[in-house]
Symmetry: D2
Subunit: 341 residues, 4 copies
């Protein structure tokens, strides 16, 4: 079966496994106090151009969203997000489980526009009954979005400015951040992200690691007793080395960026083979997620030999299907797919 249904179908980049083997028996303290975490943090700070960044490694995306939102929002505050934002749509109510409301606003290709946010905030504070509502306490965006789209530097800057104006943090869910940063159509760098966001995370689970997200607080704004807040959410790893070793490896010799670029190359290749055969795309994506409109019979046949994700019906006879590449996708995978479509 060809691995195109998502970007977490395979294990970890081989260099990570090698590093596990090398470090395996070195005794280290637990709970993130190990030397691999320390080294990984140093390298991430450098990569972000943000020497004062405070970093904490967590296991997965929903967990990171939950912990960050729970720890930065006050109890009477909710989190502004796109209706299609992962926290609003696909996290089983993990945010609400912490007592916080998702203040979901209309989106455009998965993106939240600064003007939408500003309009909302203006109206909120103009409303004489706002004390009876949920205060907007944060803006959450995903980059790339759930549709594989990307914010431009101008768009991110505009969002950042609205947030500053209203004194609420801008939080970026970067579960697929590498694939965004290495897109051929982006003008946003990791330094930009660190500069414009108050907190974000660098996704590992979908970008070469077995698990793990590096949560980065960029403005000396990690909440006090953050370890306790993490543990309270059941999110603290006893063997912090599991995350430290992985991120230390990913941020050594540019690995995170190289493998992300590879996935983008594979995605562009994938676009070409579909385009060459006249398939329509649901959305113009420049990251590792591609949305193709397939005839239903074709899809049925294809699914016998390739993993892919049914996104939504297109019309009676067609379906929007998501194909993902990842650090692990090979040119041979693409060729084999080409032969099937």
């Amino acid at each position: 079966m060809l691995p195109f249904s998502c970007d977490y179908m395979q294990g970890a980049h081989p260099k990570i496994l090698e590093r596990f083997v090398e470090t395996n028996l070195v005794p280290q303290p637990g709970y993130g106090e190990d030397e691999y975490c320390a080294s990984a943090k140093e390298k991430i700070r450098a990569a972000c151009g943000c020497p004062e960044a405070q970093i904490f490694f967590l296991n997965g995306g929903t967990q990171s969203n939950k912990v960050v939102i729970d720890s930065l929002c006050r109890s009477y505050e909710g989190v502004i997000c796109a209706l299609t934002g992962h926290i609003n749509a696909h996290e089983s109510g993990a945010i609400e489980a912490t007592g916080r409301k998702c203040l979901a606003l209309p989106q455009k290709e998965g993106k939240l526009e600064a003007q939408t946010v500003r309009k909302y905030l203006t109206a909120f504070y103009a409303d004489g009954t706002c004390e009876h509502m949920v205060f907007p306490g944060m803006v959450y965006i995903s980059h790339p979005t759930e549709y594989g789209t990307l914010y431009s530097k101008a768009e991110l800057t505009a969002l950042s400015e609205v947030c500053k104006e209203y004194d609420i943090p801008l939080f970026m869910d970067g579960a697929r951040l590498g694939y965004g940063l290495m897109s051929r159509q982006t003008d946003v760098t990791l330094e930009d992200v660190a500069r414009l966001c108050d907190v974000f995370y660098i996704g590992g689970t979908k970008v070469g690691a077995l698990c793990g997200e590096a949560v980065v607080f960029t403005k000396n704004n990690m909440p006090p007793h953050f370890l306790t807040l993490v543990k309270r959410q059941g999110a603290l790893s006893a063997k912090g080395r599991l995350l430290g070793v992985q991120f230390d490896t990913l941020f050594t010799d540019n690995l995170y960026f190289d493998i992300s670029r590879h996935a983008i190359d594979m995605a562009e290749k994938l676009k070409e083979i579909f385009a060459a055969k006249g398939y329509k795309f649901f959305m113009d994506s420049h990251t590792n997620q591609q949305f193709v409109v397939l005839e239903n019979e074709k899809l049925e046949i294809l699914q016998k030999q390739a993993y892919c994700s049914i996104w939504e019906p297109w019309d009676e006879h067609h379906t929007v299907v998501r194909f993902c590449t990842s650090w692990a996708t090979t040119p041979q995978d693409i060729e084999a797919l080409d032969a099937l479509i």
Copy 2:
């Protein structure tokens, strides 16, 4: 530095790392639907002698406690535990974060006695105001306990009977279960645990894995939509294979039990070297945690060359110090320690 402060100072058993390498590029679906999880579950069911067991792999102990208690207790119910129980004492309020109260009762060497539980339950239901209290909805025990002690089969049976009588589940935190099962002083088998408990988990993090606990529902009592409940707690792994591969390896060729027995052998050795030099033990433990009374000056010197855990003051001049062995402890580690004390 010698690795005695806890049982999670080193990586994973080498066979697990090998298996990561072997399986690394095989595409698998996410969220625990992979073949390694399936295989691991089958092997655990067999090891438990419980073919109908329902199993879910989670990342860590606090997370497992949180998810199990949240999913099995009703909102008006709390969980009976020992005052020294991990959920009551050392989980940063993770249980309360789900809205549940720890109904903490007196313990004896870390153990909750059936008669203590029965007395509590009898008094609770005899109290005319019990509708104004938190209903007891579960009994939580850890085995081995936080003090390294073990329940006998008779004690477990008695607890199980009280629970049945009051129709509440018995939940065993088995973060160190392997070390309990392989103790030279236990009459409790894994089959017994599966038979007597309604839900328990087999600890991986402290017993040979990089992370992971196998939660076992033994009575066809896994709550509906458990995956959703897990995700809502931020506890669902996208790459379920990370957990599947580890438990599949641990439950192949008796590995889990063999490495647990090894840790016990090392612990007995460790006891011998301390006893030989006339040290006093704080508590008679037959598992991998040993509590030794050290002079404070001795301790200070020792800490320069060995990791160990300060437990509590003994008197003005002495401290109770915890030494842990694990699957990774070597006879050389023990010899080196012997030279230091």
Copy 3:
């Protein structure tokens, strides 16, 4: 100042105060076990034509919404509502504070349409990833809605049918139920409400009481240990008589309906005086809330002599203003208003 900004500007119906005086020194047990609660429940059961109804008196609307939703939804379930539903828009996140998500759907004049709900439910269960979402566990409607509009019997029946089909309860927020039932344009009776809804409440705070809502479970579906669930939410009154006496009075000699009808008469009168002077209405309402479009200068002058509620801007020069009547509105109030506009 004329009292038109809301329907809770004045105290209680005088008969309630009289009854407080009469019963004041009669000793009664607490927590709703008093004879007035018992009598009120009996009368409400009769008025609903629902002898098996289970009734619990709570203090206010948000509290009732919170308690009902928290006690009937499972933790992985959310509550379907209109985007403009009170629980979604104006309760400070009280529902999310219990860990439940408001699944907010588009509305029409404040109403949730059965077809909107069915479409949502169908799509939800057709989605292969629905285990990663919040399960729809209840449908919440307000009647009258936040815009003063009313469901017809056919609309309620259709909603009830969708709910039955998907086996989820239909919950009606009846904070202003009296004013809905006595509208000149409704075909819905209290018996219909009791028959078609699984749970609803009869609003007292806005309909003649100092405080209090009567929560009615119509299908023998009051959750076990409901008193405990109520107390856990801080919603249990020690002096249950405060609520019992009020509802017992309101449901004696048709008082609840008579005073509601009076408010409707006053509202129709209010409409007439505005219509007579050529004012435009924002929405065609047949209950006690009327939404009038006023010139901004007019509004400014008016606000010096009458309480009224600014709803939203209409255009640069006009504002939508809400005028409420209540059981306490007098013909003199209306005449005085007429003189001001």
Copy 4:
């Protein structure tokens, strides 16, 4: 039936009912913005000798405890209390429902001693693993306690000092505060309470009101957006006048203190009649709750003509029974009781 089982068996002081009647039709804004609340707050500030006090009226005791603790504790903090504290023992887990742990410590006659608290705090911060525990974020005491006992000024001062030392607020549950202040054996005044506590409430429900507690923040420390926090807990009254009128009346012409003193006089009388017949007291109480040891047969007979509360078994043949007086107890009630015992 004679009304001795609790202090909330009868309605409100007649002056409150009169005031309801007088003010009934005066239009007032909702949510505590009415003039009665304003006036009541002014009078309470004066009575407390604390002109900067910030006051909010809530409906009941558990609700007040829940709202205060939820709004003042950070999410990683719990609340220190006596094992017998109301929040720990008799509030159905209302505190845990907000995600906060009750850090229950041993008590002495229902009281928490300053040295117990200091010892706990010292040990907590000395524990190297305290980041894995629940941080102590507040000290909760009830005055009078659940056993009718009272803190002396010295004891309160000592508690206040420990709290200051550790920079955590001291919170007093004053559900029965009037009966404490008017005890013949107290040296604590309302001014003392306001000076020594950071937040406390003046109980109305048990001291002459139909419902209501006046929460007093004494150090300019009412959390921002407190109204929103209150509403989020379902605790905001639309008709704030219900609470305003009651407290305004209670704090006019010393009424709160006079009726409290009356209850104390009745309690002393009640003690006398039991003592005169040789009954034993379970505890030496100087407030309105008296705990008497009765023979079981006597109790059975008595319960046919008097409401009283079974507290706990004394021995096989005797039971500890609680008798409460209140503002409403009459000398005739006491005489009638005397005739029964």
